[in-house]
């Protein structure tokens, strides 16, 4: 982990409320594990006070450039969307533990299921898997066509299915509806998205091997404040926990109570 003032190289709106931002900085050299996140300070004046956790979406290690995608929703992400090329951005990272790449052998198949703003970290993951000669299939769920992004990019890496709840793009329904119906083959499942989606994946798809990326409100982002704890599954003592920021955000199937 490093704290650094990086420089914004690119900022563009790519879907409804969704922005793509690329920055340059020394800390990019450390971003070798997909699924890690950055803790970004959007205001200089302690208003907003806390950093915002945002996943790494893509990395160019040689150019020391990193791309993130974010949804401008609340005050912090709105301010982020107002930053311009050339502005400095205070970033802490990379943080947390990413998706394990060695869960698969060469030639095996990974199924990547993303939902909404949970899609970004899967892009770097997919690229890294493809680099290791692992077959990737993507199922990307969005609310509607206007919310969808990065579909061409995922298509270039492997078979990509888009689902939308209102049917305006691709398959109509939830990602789980599609997977239950089409039953694509895979060895390991990786997912990131809203909790209800991940819960449906665990319950309905019941994958043998799977990794989930979790979200929780954070304070420090480095494991010190105990803001982001999750109770572990089936813990008789009731005191066992994991911190999303430093033990996660990615956990294997069955560790965290979804």
């Amino acid at each position: 982990m490093i704290k650094e003032w990086t420089t914004i190289l690119h900022q563009e709106q790519i879907a409804d409320k969704i922005y793509e931002l690329t920055f340059e900085g020394e800390l990019v050299e450390r971003m070798t594990a997909p699924g890690q996140f950055l803790h970004i300070r959007v205001g200089e004046q302690y208003m907003p006070l806390l950093r915002r956790p945002i996943s790494i979406c893509d990395v160019d290690l040689e150019q020391k450039q990193c791309t993130i995608l974010y949804r401008s929703e609340g005050e912090g992400t709105r301010l982020l969307s107002k930053k311009r090329v050339g502005d400095s951005l205070d970033i802490l990272g990379p943080l947390g533990n990413g998706f394990p790449l060695d869960a698969l052998q060469e030639g095996e198949t990974a199924l990547l299921i993303g939902g909404g703003i949970g899609v970004p970290p899967l892009y770097y993951l997919s690229r890294k898997l493809v680099e290791r000669n692992i077959r990737v299939k993507h199922v990307l769920g969005f609310a509607s066509k206007k919310d969808a992004f990065y579909i061409d990019r995922f298509n270039q890496l492997g078979e990509t299915t888009v689902t939308t709840i209102d049917g305006t793009l691709g398959y109509q329904g939830f990602v789980t509806d599609y997977v239950l119906k089409e039953n694509p083959e895979y060895d390991v499942l990786y997912t990131c998205g809203p909790t209800p989606m991940m819960k449906a994946i665990e319950e309905q798809l019941n994958p043998a091997r799977a990794y989930y990326s979790f979200e929780e409100r954070m304070g420090c982002g480095i494991g010190a404040c105990f803001a982001c704890v999750c109770p572990v599954k089936e813990d008789p003592t009731g005191t066992e926990y994991r911190k999303v920021c430093s033990d996660g955000p990615v956990f294997p199937q069955g560790v965290i109570q979804l």
């Binding site: 982990m1 006070l49 929780e216 494991g223 010190a224 803001a227 704890v229 109770p231």
Partner: protein
């Protein structure tokens, strides 16, 4: 002697900067980023007799210039703190202020007795903002007599000096301060968080699962400064000041108000390097101001004025 060194009961500090309790865990995470020996002291996370999971999440919420937290005293419990956390910290050349909590006097006494024996614990910090289950949940910190009784009980068993950490959620904090001083407190920590709440407009419920939370960060600094200004004129024990400190200038303001050392809480979340950065900045500020020793500043905002008949 260095410009920054401060000697308080139990705390021989290279500099007056320590991370505040609950905002630094037991130091492990920060130890990866800088040498903990650079700190004046470390206030560790509240320790209770039994391990505690704490409150459900969300446990934090942002507010204008501040944040709310309701962690709920999550900690691994007395045994593990003694066997794992404190020994880890013993590798660093830094005094430990052990924050202790409980819901009954006996809880505090038990933890105080055991923790104060740990070789690197050089002082205790009594967190009296906790609800007192025997007195119907009112906080130990809101009644001068209850606060004094708890202080006495802990002083009786502690092998190290005891700092009482005062709650700001009271009508007259000077009464509590005077009461615990009379009960034998060696110092005060001021202030703990203000009680606050945020409501989520979508769910229409409090953002924090526990509903209320403790307000910390820059927003509360003026309240802390006012309380330290008042209390430091009424007691003769030293005060560790805290609440919204983010810079060396803030530290100077706390000293002028009457603090003899400070703790940095929330700011560690925004910048994990804040404590050593403030230490360096503070040294330079004193050189620029031609202050030979930081202790000269303690209480200077009122020492030079007329005598303390405060008006509100």
């Amino acid at each position: 002697m260095s410009r920054l060194a401060i000697k308080l009961p139990g705390l021989s500090m290279k500099n007056p900067i320590m991370p505040a309790s609950g905002c630094f865990g037991f130091g492990r995470e920060f130890a990866r980023y800088y040498d903990l020996s650079r700190l004046g002291a470390i206030a560790i996370k509240a320790t209770t007799e039994e391990s505690r999971f704490g409150n459900p999440t969300p446990r934090v919420a942002e507010t204008p210039g501040g944040m709310l937290n309701a962690i709920g005293l999550q900690n691994p419990g007395l045994k593990k703190v003694l066997s794992e956390e404190l020994p880890f910290l013993a590798d660093y050349d830094v005094p430990i202020l052990a924050n202790i909590a409980g819901t009954k006097t006996e809880d505090y006494v038990k933890v105080a007795e055991d923790v104060s024996k740990a070789p690197n614990v050089t002082a205790l910090e009594l967190n009296i903002s906790c609800p007192n289950v025997k007195e119907g949940g009112i906080s130990f910190g809101t009644d001068p007599e209850i606060a004094a009784a708890l202080t006495r009980a802990v002083k009786d068993v502690s092998e190290v000096p005891v700092y009482v950490k005062l709650s700001p959620n009271v009508s007259d904090i000077t009464k509590i301060a005077v009461a615990v001083e009379e009960a034998g407190a060696d110092g005060l920590s001021m202030i703990n968080t203000l009680l606050g709440m945020r409501i989520d407009l979508k769910s229409e419920k409090p953002v924090i699962a526990n509903r209320t939370g403790g307000l910390s960060g820059p927003a509360i600094k003026p309240v802390a400064i006012r309380m330290i200004y008042e209390v430091s004129q009424r007691v003769s024990i030293p005060i560790i000041g805290m609440g919204g400190i983010t810079s060396a200038d803030d530290v100077l303001e706390y000293f002028l108000a009457g603090a003899s050392a400070v703790a940095v809480g929330t700011a560690n979340f925004v910048n994990p390097f804040i404590c050593p950065e403030i230490v360096d900045e503070l040294e330079q500020k004193l050189i620029d101001k031609k202050v030979d020793h930081i202790s000269e500043l303690i209480g200077r905002s009122w020492k030079s004025c007329y005598s303390p008949s405060l008006s509100h």
